[in-house]
Amino acid sequence: MESVSLYHQCGFREIWNIDSFTRDRVGDGLIISPINMESHKVNRLPISIKQCSFFDPQFYIPRSSHKALNSYKFFPNNIAGGYKTVDYAKYASQSARICVDYQVQNDFKYIIMPTVFFDELPNNYIAQLKELYILPFLNVISTIGAEKPTLLSIIVKDIQLNDSDYRDELLSLLTSYSEIDGIYLIPYYKTTSKRIKNADYLLNLMTFIDVLRANDLEVHVGYTDIEAYILTIADVNSITIGSYENLRNFSNSISSHRFETKEGTKGMNGPIPRIYSSKLLQWIDYRYLSSLESDYSKSNELFDDTEYKVTMFDPGYKWHFTKPELYKHYFLSFNRQIKSLPNSFDERYNHIMNNIKKAMDYFDGIRDCGILLDSNSDGSHLGFWGTAVNRFVKYKRGV
C-alpha cells in the first residue's frame, strides 16, 4: 500500500488552510476552490504551493452565475453566455482548452477534468459526461501534449454504489480512458447524522475504490470527513480535510447552494462548535467538555495536544463555529493520525481496528461515568465503521 496524502479542501476562509499548510505543515497540498478564490488571487499564490496542489474547476452546477466564477472564462455559464445543456456541445472544446491552459500555466500538480452534478440522474448521463466534458478535455490534453498527470472528476451517489448496473456502468466509464492517471472521486451521501452510520454504503465505497486501484488508477477522494480514516484501508492515494461541514460533505455543499451563491457566515444559523478527538474518532460538542473534565478520569487523553487546544481550553475562550482553532486543531490532529498509518495492508487493518476498538472503550468509560453523549457526539458510528472495514478485508481475502 502507499502512504496516504492529505489535501486541504479549500473553501470559505481558505486562509486557514493555507496557514495550516504553510505554518503547521499539515497536509500535502491544497485543492483550490474557484468559487472562493477569484482567478487573480489564484494566479498570485506562491508557485511552491501550486506545484503540490490541484485546482478543482467546479463545473458541478454549470448554469451557476456565482460571482467569483465570473473571473474564469472557461466556466460553462460564462463561456456559453448562459448555460443550456442542449447548446453546450459547441462551447465544450473551447472551455476545455482554456481550463486546461489555466491549470498548466499555473503549474498545478495535476490537470483536473471537471464533472457536473445531476440532481436526478438522466438516462443519458454517461453520454452527457463523455460528450460535454470528458472527451473535450481529453482531446485538449492530448493535443497540447500535457505532461502533467490527469485526474478525471466524478461524483458518485450512494444509489450508484448500491445498484450493480449503475456501479458497473460507472466503473466501465472511469476505467475506459488509458490517457488518465487517476480519479478525483467525490462521494455524495445524504444523511441527517454527522457521521456515516451505514456499513453497506461504506463497504460499497471501499470496493468501488478498490476496483479503480486495481486498474492502476490513483484515487483521490474529495469532500471527506473523518470517515476518510477508514477509507484508507482501500489504499486511496489521498483524502481531504476541510474546515466547515460543507467542505467535508459534498451533499452539504449542494444543499447549501455553495456553488451558486456567495458564502458567508453573516446571519447564518451555524452549527454547534465541535472539537475533534482522534482517540474517539468523533467530533465532540464543546458543551460536553466541562462534564468530561470533571467526571471522566481519562479526559486528558481524548484530545491531542496542539497550540489550538491550549487556546480552546482556556476558560475565557468564546466557542463559535467560525473560530479557526476548531479546524486548525482538527487538521493537525487528523494529519498525525493519517501519517501514522502503516503501509502494509495487514498492519493498517490492525492499526485501524485497534483504534476503533480503543475509541469504543473510551466511549464505554464515558457512558459508565454518567455522561450521555448525543447521537452526533457518541460512538454509535464505530460499529458500522468497524463492520465495513472487516467486511472489506474479507472481500480482499476472498472469504
Binding site: 453520454a127 472527451l135 482531446n139 466501465s172 472511469l174 476505467t175 475506459s176 476496483v211 492502476d216
Partner: protein, 269 residues
Amino acid sequence: MDYDKDIRIIKPLKEGGQKKVYLAESNTLGKVILKVGQCHSISDLERIKREVDLLRSIKSPYFPQNYAFRYDSNGNFQMLEEYIESKSLSECMHFFDTEVKIAQFALELINGMKLLWNSRIVHRDLKPDNILIKSTYQPVIIDLGIARDLEGISLTKSILHRGPCTPIYASPEQLKNMKDCIDIRTDFFSIGIILCELFLKVHPFHPQVVGEGFSIVENIEAGRYSLQYLDKKMSPHFESIVKKLLETKQYNRYRTYKKFEKDLLMLIS
C-alpha cells in the same frame, strides 16, 4: 482508375453479409483484392466509407492498403485493396502450438492494433478469419467494416438487440449492444478468445469444452468458459493473462494495452 478495364477477376474468395470478395489482377497494381457489394442503408454505406478512410489513414504493414473506392446512388460499391500473400489465422492455427508462440503472436497483434486504439478506434470484429498470417508470421488485420471511432457518431441503433459483431467472438457488452461501453477492452475480450483457441484448438466457450446445454453465445454472456481441454493445460501465468482478457465486466480486464503487453513480455522472458 477504370475498374472495368484495369481489373480482371481471378477467383471468388469469400461471400457473406453484404459483399463478395474476389482475388483479382490489376494491370497497374498486380494482384489485388476486390470487394463488391451493395449497401442497404445509409449507415451500411457510412461503415464502408469509414473503413476506407481508416485504411487510408493508417498505412501500416499490419493493415492492407486501400487503393480505390467507389459507390453509386443505389448503394452499390467497389473497393480495391492490397493483396497480401497469406493464410487466415483459422487456416494456420496449428503453427501456434506453444504459449511463447501465442504470446509472440499476441504482441504482434497488439503492435498493429495500437494504431487503431491510439486513435480511439475499436475494431469490434477481431476473429481468426479477420487476421491474416504472412509467411513471416506477421499478422495483418482486415475487415474494419464495423470498427468504431469512439468519438464519432454511432451507426448502430440502440434498440437493436445485439450490436454489430461476429457473436462467437464478441464481448458481452457487444452482445448486449451496450454502445456506450464499447472501448478497447471490447477488442481485448475477442483477443482473449483467439488466444485461448490457439492454445486449446477449440473455442473456450464451446459447449464441447464447458459442457453441453448452452450455446457459445449464451456461455459468453454467462462468463462460462474453460481454459483446459483434453490434455491441454495452461501455465498459471498464461492462464492469468487470458482470464483477465475474458472477464465479463470490462473494468476487470486490462485497462491499457501497455499492461497487457507487459504481461506477455514477462511470459516470453
